[in-house]
Amino acid sequence: MTRKQRRGILIGTAVAVLSAAVILVLFAMQDSVVFFHTPSDISERKLEPGQRIRLGGLVAEGSVKRGEGTKVAFGVTDTLKTIGVTYEGILPDLFREGQGVVTEGRLGADGTFVADTVLAKHDETYMPPEVAKALKEKGVKLGAGATHDNGASPTETPPSGSQDPANGS
C-alpha cells in the first residue's frame, strides 16, 4: 500500500465518521429541539396544542394550588398574560410564588400547559437567562437575579414584589 492510499483510508474513515455524525445531528435536531415561549407568545402566536415547548416566566402570586397526591397547579406569568400550568411530581426546592421558573411540557387543548419538567434553580439570586430576557422585553423591572453575582448587594429587592423571607440576599 502506498503512502497515498494509507492516507486515503485515514481521511476516508474521518469523513465517514463525520458524515455519520452530521446525519445523526440533523436527525436529532428535527425532534429533540424544544422552543422557549413566554405566556404572551403563546396567546399571541396560537401554538398548536400537543407540541413540546418550554414555558418560562414568574410563578404568579397566589396561584399555587396543591391537588390530590403530588398534583400541583400554578400560573406562569410575564405580568401581561398568565398561563395555567399543571404538574405532577415534586417541585424543586426553590420553587416559589413570584420567582422565575422554566417549565417543559405540552400545551393542552383547553389552553392549560401540562408540564413534565419544572426547571430548578441552584441559587436564590439566579434567574434563567431566557426568563430574565423575556421579562426585560416585556418591560418588567428586575431586581435581584439576572445580572447580580452572588447577591453582593444586600439591599436588593426580590423580583416583582414577593416579600419572601428567604430572599434576604
Binding site: M1, R3, R6, I9, L10, T13, A14, V17, L18, A20, A21, L24, V25, F27, A28, M29, D31, S32, V33, V34, F35, F36, H37, R54, R66, E68, G69, T70, E88, G89, I90, L91, D93, L94, V102, E104, L119, A120, K121, H122, D123, E124, Y126, P128, P129, E130, K133, A134, G145, T147, H148, D149, N150, G151, A152, P154, P165, A166, G168, S169
Partner: protein
C-alpha cells in the same frame, strides 16, 4: 492587614507573570541562556505569591473576616470549618484565584522538574504559561477582586449556598480546575513547539505525564460533580447533558483523545500535527468551559448567579489564546516533519480511530451545547436536551467501544485483525451472553440497553485479555506466565485499569438509565409503597436541628419479603444563612443498586408527597471513574513516564563520555 498583603501579593504575581512571559521567550529567541533561565525563578516566585494571596483569602474565610466583601457574600460564622474553607472557591472571585493558583503550580512544576528539558523549549513553555497567568490575573484584579473591603463591616455574612455545603462539592472544583488548568501544560508545550518549529518523540514524552495528571483530576472532578448531583439535588439523575456539565465533559473527551494521540507520537513519531492541534483545542475547550460557566449565557440547571460582563472578558481571553495558537499552528504546522508510517490496521490505526470518534463525538456535544446560542441570535429561544445527545453522542460511542479492546492487542505498524479477533472470541461470546442475560432478566427497557451492557462487559474483559496477552498466557508455562505478569511495566497495568474503569462505568450507566424504577406517591403515616421488590413504610416526620439548619426528617422502614433491610431518612432542610431550603435524599446504597427516597411537600390532607427510586448498579458509574483515576496514577508512577523523565536511550549512555 493580611488581606492587603494577599492583594499586594496578587499584584506582584501579575508583575512576575509579565516578566515570565516576556524575558524567557526573548532569551530563547536571542539565544541568551541567562535571559532564558529567568523563567524558572519567575514561575516559582509567581506560585509562592499566588499561594500567599490564596492563603490570605482562606484565612479571611476561616476567621470570618466580614470586612471583606467576598467573605460577607459567601460565608457565615456559624458554618462548619470545612465549608468555611470550601467557601473560598464556592464563589466566582475565590474560584478564579484557585484557578491561577493551580496554573502557577503547574508552571513552577515545569521549572522545578523540567531540568532535563531543552533550555529553549523550557523557556518558551514557561513564557506561554506566564502569558495565561497574566490574562487571568488581570481578569481577577480588574473584574473579580476577592480582596475588596466593606466599610462598615457587617456583623454577619450571608452564607454559602446550602447545596454547596457538601463534602463532594467541597473538593469538586479543585479537581475540576486541576484538570482544566492541567491541560494548559499541553497547550504551552504545543505553542512552544510551534514557536521552535521542532517537535519529536521526546516532546510527547514530556507532555504525556502532564496531560495524564490533568486527565485524572478531570475524571475525578466530573465524577464527584455527578455524584453530588445524584444525591444532593434529589432528582435521582446523575447526568443531565446540561451545558455546565458538557463544559467539563468536552475537555475530557478531547483530553482522552490527546492522551492516545500523544502515545502514537511518543512511540512512533506519527500524528505530530494532529497532536499539536488536539493540545491547543483541549485547552481551548477548558477555557470555553470556564466561559460558559462564568458567563451564564446558557440556561443551565446548575447555574448560579453570574455576571455576563465577566463572561465577555473570559471570552476575550479564550479568543486571544485559541486564535493566537491556531494562527501560529496555521503558519508553522507545515514545518513539522512527518513521522512513521503505518498500515490502517495497526495500533496506530486503532488510535487514530479512537481520536476520530472522540473528536467527532466532542463536536456533536459542542454543537448541541452552543446551538441555542446561535439560534438566539436569530430570535428563537430553544433548548437542546438529553434526547439530542442520546441520539448523536451514544451511537458514536458504540464503534469506539467495539474497537477499544482491539487497540492494545494490535501490533504497531501493521496488525493482524483476524488473529486479534480470534484472541477476543471468548470475550465476545461472554459479552453477548451477558447482554442476552440482562435482556431476559429485565424484559423491558430500550433495545439498545442489552447492547450497551454487552459492550461494557466486552471492554472490561477485553482489557483483561490485553494483560493476559502481554504476559503470553497459554503460550508460556505457568511459572513463566506468573513471572511475566508480575514484571509488566506499571504503565501497562495503568492503561488496562483505565479501560476496565470505563467498562465498569458503562455497566452502571446502562443499567441505571434503562432499568431504574421510579414511584411518586402521596403517603400518610403508616402507609407503604413497593418499588423494585422493596417495601417502604412511612413511619413519620420529625424535626431536627443541624449545625446551621433545621430539618424535617422522614423515616421510612425498608423491608423485602418481610425481612428488615434498612431505614431511610430523607429530609427537607432549611438553612439559617442564607435561609434556603434543600432536600436531602435518603439512600440505601448497595452494589446491586441504590434505593433512593426524597421527601416532597406536605399534603393538605396530611401525609407527604414522596418520590422513590431504585437505581440498579448506579454505584458502578463512580467506582469506574475511581478505577480510571487509579489506572492513571499507576501509569504515572511508571518510571518511564515519570514527570520529565529523560529518554530511555540516554539512560544507558549517560555514564559514557561523549565520543
Amino acid at each position: 492587614m493580611i488581606i492587603e498583603t494577599g492583594h499586594f501579593a496578587l499584584v506582584l504575581a501579575l508583575i512576575v507573570a509579565l516578566v515570565q512571559t516576556m524575558v524567557p521567550a526573548w532569551g530563547a529567541h536571542t539565544r541568551d541562556p541567562r535571559l532564558a533561565a529567568v523563567g524558572e525563578p519567575a514561575a516559582v516566585s509567581q506560585f509562592v505569591l499566588i499561594l500567599i494571596a490564596f492563603a490570605a483569602l482562606t484565612h479571611a474565610y476561616i476567621v470570618s473576616d466580614f470586612s471583606v466583601a467576598n467573605v460577607v457574600a459567601n460565608s457565615h460564622s456559624e458554618k462548619p470549618l470545612l465549608y468555611r474553607i470550601s467557601g473560598v472557591w464556592g464563589n466566582h472571585e475565590g474560584s478564579m484565584v484557585l484557578w491561577v493558583l493551580i496554573l502557577a503550580l503547574f508552571g513552577s512544576a515545569v521549572a522545578i522538574f523540567g531540568t532535563n528539558l531543552p533550555p529553549t523549549l523550557r523557556a518558551n513553555v514557561l513564557s506561554v504559561q506566564g502569558s495565561i497567568s497574566v490574562a487571568f490575573l488581570l481578569f481577577i484584579l480588574f473584574t473579580s477582586n476577592p480582596f475588596e473591603r466593606l466599610d462598615p463591616a457587617p456583623l454577619e455574612g450571608q452564607g454559602l449556598n446550602p447545596i454547596l455545603q457538601d463534602p463532594a462539592l467541597a473538593f469538586h472544583p479543585p479537581f475540576l480546575y486541576a484538570g482544566y488548568v492541567g491541560f494548559s501544560m499541553a497547550f504551552s508545550f504545543a505553542v512552544a513547539a510551534l514557536i521552535e518549529g521542532r517537535i519529536d518523540a521526546a516532546w510527547a514524552r514530556w507532555v504525556r505525564p502532564w496531560t495524564l495528571a490533568a486527565w485524572m483530576c478531570l475524571t475525578l472532578g466530573i465524577a464527584m460533580g455527578s455524584w453530588w448531583a445524584y444525591y444532593e439535588l434529589g432528582w435521582g439523575g446523575w447526568w443531565f447533558w446540561d451545558p455546565v456539565e458538557n463544559a467539563s465533559f468536552m475537555p475530557w473527551l478531547l483530553g482522552t483523545a490527546l492522551l492516545h494521540s500523544a502515545l502514537v507520537m511518543e512511540k512512533r513519531e506519527a500524528l505530530k500535527v494532529w497532536t499539536i492541534l488536539l493540545a491547543i483545542l483541549t485547552f481551548s475547550l477548558s477555557l470555553m468551559g470556564t466561559f460558559l460557566v462564568r458567563s451564564g449565557i446558557l440556561t443551565s440547571v446548575h447555574a448560579f448567579a453570574v455576571d455576563p460582563e465577566r463572561g465577555i472578558v473570559v471570552l476575550t481571553i479564550l479568543l486571544v489564546f485559541t486564535g493566537g495558537a491556531l494562527a501560529l499552528f496555521a503558519l508553522r504546522a507545515n514545518e513539522l516533519r512527518q513521522g512513521g508510517i503505518f498500515a490502517p490496521v495497526s495500533r496506530e490505526g486503532s488510535l487514530v480511530l479512537n481520536n476520530v470518534l472522540l473528536t467527532v463525538a466532542c463536536a456533536t456535544v459542542l454543537f448541541g451545547t452552543l446551538y441555542p446560542l446561535a439560534t438566539e441570535a436569530f430570535g428563537y429561544k430553544i433548548s437542546v436536551g438529553p434526547p439530542y445527545f442520546n441520539l448523536t453522542f451514544l451511537p458514536l460511542m458504540i464503534p469506539l467501544l467495539l474497537a477499544l479492546p482491539y487497540g492494545p492487542l494490535l501490533a504497531w505498524k501493521r496488525g493482524d485483525l483476524l488473529g486479534v479477533s480470534q484472541r477476543l472470541m471468548a470475550v465476545a461470546i461472554v459479552s453477548i451472553v451477558m447482554g442476552i442475560a440482562i435482556a431476559a432478566y429485565y424484559q423491558r427497557g430500550p433495545w439498545l440497553a442489552p447492547i450497551g451492557f454487552a459492550l461494557g462487559v466486552w471492554v472490561i474483559l477485553g482489557a483483561a485479555t490485553d494483560i493476559l496477552n502481554r504476559a503470553r498466557f497459554r503460550d508460556v508455562p505457568w511459572p513463566e506466565f506468573v513471572r511475566r505478569i508480575t514484571s509488566l511495566p506499571r504503565s501497562a497495568y495503568g492503561g488496562v485499569l483505565a479501560h476496565m474503569g470505563l467498562g465498569v462505568s458503562i455497566l452502571g450507566i446502562v443499567a441505571t438509565s434503562a432499568y431504574q424504577s421510579e414511584k411518586i406517591v402521596a403517603l400518610a403515616i403508616g402507609q407503604s409503597e413497593t418499588v423494585a421488590g422493596y417495601t417502604l413504610t412511612f413511619k413519620g416526620v420529625e424535626q431536627a436541628r443541624g449545625p446551621n439548619y433545621t430539618e424535617d426528617v422522614g423515616t421510612f422502614e425498608v423491608t423485602t419479603g418481610g425481612a428488615f433491610v434498612s431505614t431511610l431518612h430523607p429530609s427537607k432542610r432549611l438553612y439559617d444563612a442564607p435561609p434556603q431550603p434543600t432536600s436531602e435524599a435518603g439512600i440505601y446504597p448497595s452494589l446491586g443498586g441504590d434505593l433512593y427516597a426524597v421527601l416532597g411537600d406536605k399534603q393538605p390532607a396530611g401525609g407527604y408527597a414522596v418520590r422513590f427510586y431504585f437505581h440498579p448498579l448506579v454505584r458502578l458509574i463512580w467506582i469506574g471513574a475511581v478505577i480510571m483515576f487509579v489506572g492513571g496514577a499507576i501509569s504515572l508512577s511508571d518510571r518511564r513516564l515519570r514527570v520529565g523523565a529523560p529518554r530511555p536511550a540516554r539512560r544507558g549512555t549517560s555514564a559514557v563520555p561523549a565520543e
